[in-house]
Amino acid sequence: MPKPPPGVAERDFQAALRDLEGVVGRDWLFSSDEDVLLYRDGYSPLWGEAEERMASAAVAPSSVEQVQGVVKIANQYGLPLYPISTGRNLTYGGAAPAYSGSVVVDLKRMNRILDVSARDKTCLVEPGVSYFDLYRHLRTNKIPLWIDTADPGWGGLIGNALDRGGGYTDIEFRDHFDAHCGMEVVLPTGEVVRTGMGASPQAKSSQLFKYGLGPWVDGIFSQSNFGIVTKMGFWLMEEPEASLQVSVTVPKRRDVVPLVDTLHSLMCAHTVPSQVNVVSPLMAGNNPEMLRLRGSGGASDEQWERYAASAGGAPFWAASFVYYGPKSVIAAQWQHTKDRLAGIAGVRFAETASYTFPLTDEQVEAVADKARYGIPSLNLFGSRTVPGGPPLEGHMDFSPMIPPHGEELIALTDYTGKVYADQGFTPSFVGGLMFHPRTMICFHAVPTFRNATDNARTRKLFETLVRGCAERGWPIYRIHPVFQKLGMEMFGYNDGALHRLHETLKDAIDPNGIVSPGRYDIWPRRLRGTRA
């Protein structure tokens, strides 16, 4: 049997479990070893070690009232809770709690799609609604709206938005937290609050105007532990008439500077609507010479150009993106994009896919890059194997954020390439993804293992990357719970003033410190001394 949470006596834990069973019913309380293992982080960088984050039990409420009941019991017994939406965030900790011994509050049973308005292009969902669920609802009911899905698409809308994840379609929708409008939260005291216009009981614009009146508090419920979100509204994209997916390639290393500057300008002008990927085909794979150059951390442009010449003239950088809208508008946008980029010597343009909507089921199956069309997919898992190497056992995402400047992308990949090489790892893929309107995220995969020796190396690599990139002006935007203390230390301006503010809020909102202790290094007063 799992052990009770730290500081909770065994008899109190058993009493709490009995009380939880009284709230949700016997079938929805999970307290056996086998049950609790369902909430283990399969990609944990602490797999099998004493510090691995493990739940003590799990409970699956089906309503706001049951969530309130769970919260009441947690307050009574000092039981730490860890709410999850669908728990599929594998590269950022999955369903495992940030604080070992927590009782996972599995919100998957709260999976109602409460409202979809084709006219207003909005929806209101519960936390157990996955991208799969909403996509299927829209398709089955022939509602001409798109979701903006994470990739892979098996996660939940609310969970992904609250951890500030992103997607691939139009700029208004792919910052998932920004695309939300209104939420309902069960506070750690058990009180239910609605934000934005939803706080006005008769308001007809609850999912239309984000701010309501007075301070806009929604942000404090993202990447935090100030409550359990039980409803959330989202803005949805109207299905376009057509789309055109394109790629732009440039031959030289420094071409990425004008390439990114121009594409970012076009993105800000809404000429290029979709997320833009800027990747380096030349710096992919396991070519020994390429890895040597990357590992040196300071190879010159000339050295890279010589390598490029030896690689048969493959382009140094490739950008891909999608236009959505009427065909005539798309044609004009694409032509304007080409005109703006024509000044880069050797630039090449290609049209890779075009569609007219709605798609038939057969056409949907044939779409290669599904997330760009609001279609949830699991195709990403097919790419989890390193070419020519053994299958990855798991990985974490290291996600530094840089300005949308090509020279920063070069500098960051030089730095991380050397760090990986110095610590005996094959460097991760090179690319900048413009999920957000004013930045690029340079995702790196950091492998995790099922043995302590290799995971110790992985943790050292990850810590080096977090510190080193922050020192160079590239802090992370999201991070695995095991490293959230380290991550928040990188946001320590004015001797940690932001962290103190978080703790002030925590003390006020969660006086008994029961919701997700330690998430993003926000500890309740009663646990601040341990910070386990």
């Binding site: 079938d27 929805w28 999970f30 056996s32 086998e34 049950d35 369902l38 399969g42 799990a58 699956a60 599929r88 599995d106 998957k108 049973r109 999976n111 157990g128 799969f132 996509y135 299927r136 892979p152 698409g153 098996w154 089921d361 949907v364 199956e365 599904k370 949830p376 997919s377 699991l378 195709n379 898992f381 097919g382 989890r384 194997t385 299958p391």
Partner: protein, 150 residues
């Protein structure tokens, strides 16, 4: 492209599937023969996929195919089937697909009870179990199995 070698390999995989001790036990106890009520999932993008699918269909199984990405089939067929109660799913897919399906199926109290990897493919059985409770498992999962079941 299917050739004789691929066909034989897929036939061997299918024979192995029906001989899997776990599957045979389940089929006997639960009166779930390897027939039209069983759902067999096949990745047609694998070299052995088309031949495996043909062999399973010839055995009277309900075969559903997909090409590399199982998400569409999950939404349209697998998840709805899992919502109805105890289930046995068999498959011939990539390891990454099995990884995804195993994790998704756990929400319904099902998990991989046996698998066999060969090259790029893996043949497997996913089954509901009374020993595993999960957030979305129908109530019936826990009441229809004996303690000796896998």
């Amino acid at each position: 492209m299917t050739n004789r070698r691929v066909f034989i390999r897929s036939g061997a995989s299918l024979a192995m599937l029906t001989a899997l001790p776990a599957y045979a036990t389940l089929a006997r106890q639960r009166a779930m023969p390897f027939d039209s009520s069983s759902l067999v999932l096949v990745d047609s993008g694998l070299d052995t996929g088309p031949a495996f699918a043909a062999a399973a269909a010839a055995e009277g199984c309900t075969v559903r195919t997909f090409n590399r990405d199982v998400a569409g089939l999950w939404m349209s067929a697998i998840a709805p089937r899992l919502r109805t109660g105890p289930v046995v799913l068999c498959g011939h897919t990539s390891a990454s697909t099995l990884f995804c399906l195993d994790l998704l199926a756990r929400d319904y109290g099902a998990h991989t009870i046996q698998s066999n990897e060969e090259g790029e493919s893996v043949t497997w059985v996913i089954s509901s179990s009374p020993m595993r409770r999960a957030a979305l498992a129908p109530l019936g999962v826990r009441t229809q199995w004996s303690d000796s079941d896998a």
